[in-house]
Structures are given as C-alpha cells and as structure tokens.
Symmetry: C2
Subunit: 252 residues, 2 copies
DNA sequence: CGCAAGTTTGACGCTGCTCAATCACTGTGG
DNA sequence: CCACAGTGATTGAGCAGCGTCAAACTTGCG
C-alpha cells in the first residue's frame, strides 16, 4: 500500500516501516472534490492542512481589477504548506484544476508525526524548501525570459515533477489539465499570446499538446531553449543522513 | 541590549527574558562585510546560517546569458533560510548591497535554540512563512502589474519592512541602497525604463529619491496606485499563542 | 441540436527594450 | 588644484514583443 505522498517523501529521506505506516495513517480518509472548487480562499483562517492524493490544484491570487495570477501548481503528493495554520489568514487561495482526491490533516496530527519521526520532519522540511525554491525559479522565469522560453521552462518542470511521482508515460506524455488562459495567468501572458507561443513550440517539434495531454518530444532541446536547469528541484543525490550528520555534528 | 533580529522576532511571538538572552547569544560575534561581496554562491554547500544585523543583502540568480534576477532583499534582522543547510547545494546566491554586519550561526546552535525555546521556533517559522508569502507577492507583482505599479509596490513593501525594524524617519524616508540597474533586475525591467518610471513617480509627487534615500511623500496614494495590500506580510494582530492553542488543541 | 468553454486567427497599438550618447558625481593621481 | 576615469543617472530615437479587441472555429456535452 502506498500513495503519491509517500512516494514523494521517500525521495527526500529514507523512511522505515514505522514512518510509512504513520504517513499512511495521516492520509487515511481522503475525500473527493470536484474540479473548480476552492480548497481555501484568501482571507480565510487556515485550520487544516490539505494534501493532494490525486488531481491538480493551484495557488492563486485575484487582484482588484479582477486579474488572476497563478502562483504554483500542486500535483499528487503535494502538501499545502505544513505550517500555514500558524498564520492569521490566508494571503492567497487554493483551487482545483481537476477532480481531486484530497486529505484534510489536522495540524496537530501532522505535528505529532513530525515530532515522533524525525525522518518525516526532515522530509517535510525538504518539501517546503523545494516549494520555496520553485517559487524563486518562477520569479526568474517571469522576470527574465520571453514567452517562448517561459512556457518551455514550465513544461520542463512539470515533466520532472510528474516523473517523480510516476505519472509520465514511456512516450514522455502526461496529463496537463490547464487551459491556455490558465497558462497565461501563470506566466503573466494573455491567452492569445500563449496560443501563438504554443503553436511555435509545436512547429519546432518540441512538444505535442491536445486534449490536456502534453508530450515532450525532445526533452534535451526543450531544456536547452528554455535555460532549464533542474537544480532548484533539489532531487537529492547524496544520502541525506550523511549530510546532516556532517552539519549538525551528531545524528539527530 | 537588543538588535534588529530580536526586534523582528518579537513582533511574531512574545519572547521572555530567557528567549531574548538566547537570541543575543546567537547573534554574538558579528563580522563586518564589504558591499559587493557574496555571502554564499549558487552551487556552494550551505554550511552556515547567515543573519543580517546591519545593511542590505539580496538573493539573486545569474542566467546563462549573463542576465541577473534579484529574488529578495534582506534587511537587518533577516535570516538566510533557517533550514537551508539541509540542501545539497545553493540554488541561488546571496550578495551584499551595502557594507553589512553579519552573524554566522552554526545550524546546530540554531536548532538547539529552537528546540529549547518553542517561542523562538515559532517566531522563526513565522519569519519563514512571511518570506515565502513575499516571494508569492513578488510573483504577482511582476506577472500582473506594469512598471509604474510594480515599482510603487516594491517601495510600499520596503517602507513597511523598514518601519518594522525602526529604520524609517518621521518624514517617511529611509535608506534604499539600490541602483536603477538593481531595481530593474528585481522587477524584470531595464534600467532605462526604471529611470523613466521613477521620474513619473516623482512627477506625480509620490516619492522622492536621491542619494540612495527614498522618501514616501504620500503613502496612501502610493499604496492605492500599486494595489498594495500588506496582508501578505502577516504582521499579526491577534496574539499568536491564542491562535495556536485553538488549532493545536493544547499549549505547545 | 445547440450551447458553453476553449482554441485559433487577424489587425492594430502600446509598453517596454535596444542602442547610443550625454551628463553628474566622486574618488584618484600628478 | 585640476585632469580624468569610473559609476550611475538621464535623454532620445526607433523598434518589437506582447496586449487588446473582435470574430470565427472546434469540441464536448446535456
């Protein structure tokens, strides 16, 4: 028995049977949510921690003029910010891009698991650090790259993230439940310009995209044209335990 | 005896004498660094946690084509990511925008203080959450606003952050050690366009900026034209302790 | 069959970029 | 004390990437 949450955390820290059992217990009783619904809205108090088992979600803000900006995508295994319950109110909303299977974890259960199992704590910290690094890379992406590089970069990232949870086919295709409006709201572009840029990506035989299914035809070239370097995803090569022992002086 | 670090954390959690003493101990032995130097570079292993007592620093990335993007500013009291030592290597660099007074904290000392004093742990988590929320707001800023709103928004934010650590004069002026190139690299604009936009901000009598000193002439209007809402800075109104008790079920 | 949502296309204009020159200020050496 | 070099600010002219507006087309679905 496993799920995307466990698959993901196992990449960040070696988890034993006890830890895995604890994570399974946390992810019991998921509920189905319908596409388009919001898990939580800006201004509300964060009372629970959401965790995605299936489907896509997205963080977003709406500005006074009605424009929306998408801040992050959440895919299976992703957690909505483990410490967020500390805050007075949400500064952004989280909505669903597809039907989804969602676990609602009471903060105190999560905290308890983190205290009991240091490996879980470390894996969750790691996940948090990666989320933050991803935000930084998105900032660079919007700030410095043109529309072509921008969208290519996004596709490279989602390709690796989907790979990490085993959702990419052998033909390098995966589900991408995004409309062109949503891609635009993510990249700071209009849907019209996204459309034209996608056409160029197709014309240059880098991707295929129909029916919410994206195929990466030439991963190397797609990474090259977008300046994509996956270091910010910190997919960790060297054993985490060793590194921590070096830096903290003793086993934690 | 106090410093910007303590001032800042006190805003996030009520700290007793013991906690303050512990923070003072952590911030002993600061070193002077010269403007322009890097605290740490992309690709290096993060071995220590840096904390700024005086001066400005900035997180940045350099792309293959040589362009630079600035991801965040660090002002007195700010800490360079408390858990960063968990990562294999830095995904960005941190440089100094001015001469600075910097403390180098060994991760194990910081961890020890967090374990011994839950209030310190909470204050540091809070600070981390605010850093992340700020990144999200910057993403919205670059993604959705034009150059005029963008720069106005940045100035609003820095004004509040400098206020929080007592570095704003009664005339609403504070040091802003940024060149126009740096503002451009922050906002995804060229220095030429920043120059023209600053002229417009001056012409509309919103700000004054000479000699690296920024004066906010009309805070309300500056916030209005930029769509600035300070909620993402989570400056906390209601007592933190109460909120946590509600949500975790018992005093931590 | 017909609507709704999403995609595609075209024409046109503006924001912000490029290139290039000039200006202001400051620190340096003769 | 002045020439001058270096850094940052400012200005101008021309251009292009991307936005706007509007319409047509395509697909899924009740």
């Amino acid at each position: 028995m496993s799920n995307a949450f466990i698959t993901k955390l196992c990449r960040y820290a070696p988890l034993g049977d006890n830890e895995i059992a604890a994570l399974e217990k946390l992810s019991r009783n998921p509920r189905r949510w319908a596409s388009g619904r919001d898990l939580i809205r800006e201004g509300q108090r964060p009372e629970i921690v959401f965790m995605l088992l299936e489907g896509w979600a997205y963080r977003y803000k709406i500005l006074k003029d009605g424009s929306r900006h998408i801040l992050a995508y959440l895919v299976p295994g992703d957690v909505c910010d483990i410490h967020i319950f500390m805050l007075d109110e949400m500064d952004h909303s989280i909505g669903l891009l597809s039907d989804a299977l969602v676990v609602e974890i009471p903060p105190k259960d999560l905290m308890a698991a983190m205290e009991k199992y240091p490996a879980i704590q470390r894996a969750l910290w790691w996940a948090t650090l990666v989320d933050e690094a991803t935000l930084r890379e998105w900032l660079v992406n919007i700030g410095q790259r043109d529309s072509f590089e921008r969208i290519a970069h996004l596709f490279c990232e989602m390709w690796l993230r989907m790979q990490a949870i085993g959702l990419v086919n052998e033909d390098e295709s995966f589900d991408l439940p995004l409309t062109q409006v949503e891609i635009g709201d993510t990249m700071g572009l209009t849907a019209v310009h996204v459309n034209r840029t996608l056409q160029r990506l197709r014309r240059e035989e880098l991707i295929t995209l129909d029916n919410a299914r994206l195929t990466i035809l030439d991963p190397k070239r797609l990474a090259a044209v977008s300046g994509f370097r996956p270091n910010y995803l910190h997919r960790g090569t060297e054993p985490l335990e060793k590194r921590l022992r070096e830096r903290l002086g003793a086993p934690v």
